[in-house]
Structures are given as C-alpha cells and as structure tokens.
C-alpha cells in the first residue's frame, strides 16, 4: 500500500521563480488496480517518478506499507518492492534484452524463463532475446520490453506509465489481457497511467490528475462515465472537481 501525504513538487522556473508541478497531493493507493489519467502535462509522470524515487518531493511524505520512504534511494525502493515502467524506455549500447530481463528478475534466468516474459508481452522471444536494447528497436518493441521487465520483477507495487503508448491496435487486446492476468496473480497494487478508455475500464479505481492536483478520484463505475461525458478534461471546471475529490476522500 502506498500513501502520499501532502506531496508537492516544485522546480525552479525560467525566471528564477518556483514552478509547482504537483501541489499538495493526498492519496492512498490501496486498490489492486488504480488507473491515473488526466490531461497532458498534468503531472502524472512526475508523480510516478516521485513514487520510484527518481525525484524527491519538495514537501510532504510518501509511505510504503506504513514506512516513510520519502528520503529513500531509487535502489532501496526497488529492493523494497517498487517497480516503474517508464513512459519513455531507456536505450543502451551492448546490453541485450536478456540482460535486462535477468537484471530485473534479480537472479539467473534460463533462456526459456526469460523468453516466457517476452512471449507474455507478445514478442516472439526467439527474435528478441539476444537483441541489444539500442536505438534499432522500434518504439513499440521497447515499450513491450519495458513491461516484460516489470513482469520479471514481480514486486508488490508496479507503476506503468502509459504502457499502451505505441502499442499497435492489433496487440492492444493482448496487452489488456496481460494486465488482467497480472491482476489475478498480484499480491499488491498496480498503478497504470493511461489515456485509454479500455485500460481505465479494467481499473478498480480511477484518479484524475490535472494542473498538478487530484481533481477527481473514486470507483471506476463512478468516475469513468463522468470522464466520458467531459468534452475537454483540461478545461473542465477544476475548482468544482477538486471540491468533489476532497469530499470523496473524506468519505472513504
């Protein structure tokens, strides 16, 4: 279970002033599957980086299973059971798909085991297992490998940042199934940042982040219809929604 208490993140703006990217976020991720959505630039990836420890909040506290991890390093958080699939996967020179899957698993894997994770994300393992994770891989291939790494880690908390981005239409249904299977197996929490209705559709809970704040959150059945009826998520009356989100949190 992950809890954010009054978490803010500021960076220095162009004119030397402070720019607040996330502002006083309070949220408890305790459902099996939480989807985060919201307009571009709303602060979703920033939140994911805060959870993984890539950046640290300028204010507030992050708790993982009740333990304060606000000052914990990336490595220690990873070891404690947090995984993060990047929105933009990183490329390497000379490091192969098998190397990455093995590092992710944290133990020696047989080729068959490593291939298993690739097949799960719809990559024909034989063609990919010894390829370098370099610029020659396509964007969609990289995204799948990124997901396979998180599968291999099998941690308590898995955060996926727009896993569907760049995945072709044909494979989309398979991707949904990947998450559904993971949902069945996981003994912890999955957080998926997504703009896709079909992904939101399998979440227990949906959180909307816009303008650096949680503007709506609640059970899928409740939030999704509202989102689908909103012509423009970014300019929808945020003040009203914030109030609503606040009220819901209190009643939880």
């Amino acid at each position: 279970m992950l809890e954010l208490r009054n978490v803010s993140y500021e960076v220095e703006g162009d004119k030397g002033d402070n720019k607040e990217i996330l502002s006083h976020i309070n949220f408890v991720f305790d459902k099996r599957f939480t989807a985060i959505t919201g307009p571009n630039g709303g602060g979703k990836s920033t939140l994911a980086k805060l959870i993984a420890g890539i950046i640290t909040p300028t204010e507030g506290t992050i708790l993982f299973n009740g333990e304060d991890i606000t000052g914990m390093s990336i490595t220690d958080r990873a070891k404690a059971g947090i995984s993060y699939a990047f929105q933009q996967p990183v490329r390497f020179k000379g490091i192969t798909v098998k190397d990455l899957i093995t590092l992710a698993a944290g133990k020696k894997l047989s080729t068959a085991e490593a291939c298993g994770f690739l097949s799960e994300v719809g990559l024909c393992a034989r063609d990919y297992i010894s390829r370098e994770v370099n610029a020659s891989l396509s964007g969609g291939e990289c995204k799948r490998i990124e997901i396979a790494m998180i599968m291999a880690r099998q941690t308590e908390l898995s955060v996926f940042d727009e896993p569907e981005a760049g995945i072709d239409l044909w494979s989309f249904q398979n991707l949904i199934q990947v998450f559904e299977r993971m949902y069945e197996k996981i003994n912890g929490n999955i957080i998926i940042i997504s703009h896709q209705e079909r992904i939101l559709n399998i979440a227990d809970e949906i959180v909307v982040i816009a303008g650096g704040q949680v503007t709506q959150s609640g059970r899928r059945e409740e939030i999704l219809p509202k989102l689908l009826n909103t012509p423009n998520a970014a300019t929808n009356c945020q003040v009203l929604e914030q109030k609503e989100a606040g009220r819901e949190r209190k009643t939880e």
Binding site: T75, Y84, F92, R153
Partner: protein, 314 residues
C-alpha cells in the same frame, strides 16, 4: 615441439595470462606459437600453416598456404618476469582464398619494480580474396610497481578482394600503450576494425589508425569504443584516405568518468571525387537515464555503472 613439452614449461601465472589473452586453458588446437619471457615455449605447425623463426631479428614468419580454410593460428606472448623489454617482428603471409582466424595476444604479469615492455610489430600480407579474422587482446596483472607497457604496430597490405576484421581489445592492466595500425587496400578489399579499450588509474592509451583506400570499391570501417576511468588518458587518431572510388567510416565512441581525459581526432582525406568518407566521434559520461533505469531494477549506482560499461565494451 610436442604438446607435453609446452605443458611442462608453463607455470600457473603464464597459464592465467594465456587464458586472458587467448581464451585458452590448454594449448590450442591447430597452429600456434607461444612466446614466454622472450623465448619459445611451444609451437605447432600444420600441413597448411608454417611458422618459421626469423634469422636476422626476433620474431617469426607465419606462412599460410593459399586456399587454407577454417584453420586458426594462435600466437600469444607472455611476460611473467619483471623488467623484460622486447621488440618482436612477426610477418603473416596469407595466401589467396584463405579463410582463417589469427589470435594474437599479449599478457604481462609484473610483480617487480622494473618496467616490462613488449612491442610487437606485425605485418600482414593478405592475398587476393582471402578472409582473415584477427583478434588481439592485451592484458596486464601483478602488483609490482614496474610498468606494463605495450606498443603494437600493425601494418596491413590487402590485395584485391581481400577481407580482414581486426578485433583489438585492451581492458585491464596495461599502463601505457601506443598502438599504430596502418592499412592499404587494393580494389574491392574491405577492412573492419573494432577496438575496445578501458583505461583506469593513471594509464595512457593512444591509438593511431591510418587507412589508405587505394582501389576502386574498397571499404574501411574503423570503430573504437572506449571507457576512460579515474585519471587515465586516451587519444584516438584516425585518418582515412580515399584515393579511389571507395567508402570509409570511422567512429570513436567514448565514455568518460572521474577525472579522465579523452581526445578524439578523426580525420578524412579524399583524393578522388567518388570517395565517400564519414567520421563520427562522441565523448560523454554515462547517460543519467541509463543509470536510473538500472537502479529502478534494484541495482546500486556502482552496479549499474558496471553493467553499462561491460555492455558497452561487449
């Protein structure tokens, strides 16, 4: 010399060196010539590959009959006594239509205070349409204060349609190295060079490549990947000269760490309107996002660096 003789004359240190420079744990199959502490420690010739000691200067001639296929020659050099300084001249005559692998390597164990120095001067005469894979590994060990120095020179003459691949690796323990590689290529000949280098401490490594593309349709691809750590210094100089309708590419890709210094000076000269020449050079530290990615998999920063470097130099 019979195989038994070789085993008897090699001690444990020499065996470790041999494993490092030639991936050999025993004497190799096929033709070989092992030089240890300045003298011959083992030799084997085959029906197609002859090895002859030079009369006028230290070194050997390796003569490979035309049409020899799928054979290999190992010529490791081992220095395990401190203070040896030697210059060795090895000439390779590779007949037409051969397809062979040559593994040369030099391992220095210096446990003393005097510098150990090996300069190998290798000349290759590659016959028409012959294919050669040449692997050269340099390795140093021993905790003596004496320097471990290697200055290899490689001169390559390639006849029409010849193909040669050079894999030059120096990963550990050589304090100072100046490597000179020169090649001249006739029509349709092709040369591929892959250099992998890592320096640390106060080591110094300089590579000079000079390639003359003299024949129409000749090609050269010279790529160096290196990592410079601590206070070490590296210099990469490459000059490709296009004298015909040819194509050439050089690339230096370096990771710099700590207080190291790397200079890359690729140069191109075109003396023919149809010479297509490209050079690329990039020097930079390890990308932060690569470190972060591996750390999110549970690696420490040091472990992440190690993985990135060993992948880069693989």
């Amino acid at each position: 010399m019979p195989r038994k003789g070789v085993k008897r004359t090699m001690d444990e240190i020499q065996k470790t060196l041999l494993a490092q420079v030639a991936d050999l744990h025993e004497v190799p199959a096929g033709a070989y010539n092992i030089r240890a502490n300045g003298s011959l420690a083992g030799r084997n010739t085959t029906a197609n590959i002859d090895i002859v000691t030079k009369g006028d200067q230290p070194g050997i001639d390796i003569i490979i009959k035309p049409g020899t296929k799928n054979e290999s020659v190992h010529i490791p050099v081992l220095l395990s006594e401190s203070g040896i300084k030697e210059t060795v001249y090895n000439d390779f005559y590779i007949g037409e239509d051969c397809d062979i692998t040559i593994v040369a390597g030099c391992g220095i164990h210096n446990g003393g205070k005097d510098a150990s120095e090996h300069s190998g001067i290798h000349r290759f005469f590659v016959g028409r349409h012959a294919r050669v894979r040449y692997v050269e590994k340099h390795y140093g060990q021993g905790d003596g204060t004496g320097g471990r120095i290697m200055n290899p020179t490689t001169e390559i003459t390639m006849e029409e349609g010849a193909h040669m691949e050079l894999e030059m690796v120096q990963i550990k323990g050589i304090d100072s190295t100046q490597r000179k590689t020169e090649a001249s290529l006739a029509q349709e000949a092709s040369l591929v060079v892959r250099e992998k280098l890592m320096t640390h401490g106060t080591q110094y490594a300089r590579s000079d490549f000079a390639v003359a593309l003299n024949g129409d349709g000749s090609t050269a691809d010279v790529v160096s990947r290196s990592v410079a750590k601590e206070q070490s210094k590296q210099e990469f100089h490459a000059n490709i000269v296009g004298n015909a309708s040819c194509s050439g590419h050089t690339e230096c890709d370096a990771i710099i760490m700590d207080e190291a210094s790397v200079t890359a000076l690729p140069a191109l000269t075109a003396n023919h309107v149809d010479a297509a020449l490209i050079h690329e050079a990039a020097i930079g530290k390890i990308a932060g996002e690569q470190l972060i990615k591996l750390m999110t998999l549970g690696l420490t920063q040091e472990e992440a660096e190690e993985q990135i470097i060993s992948g880069f130099l693989k």
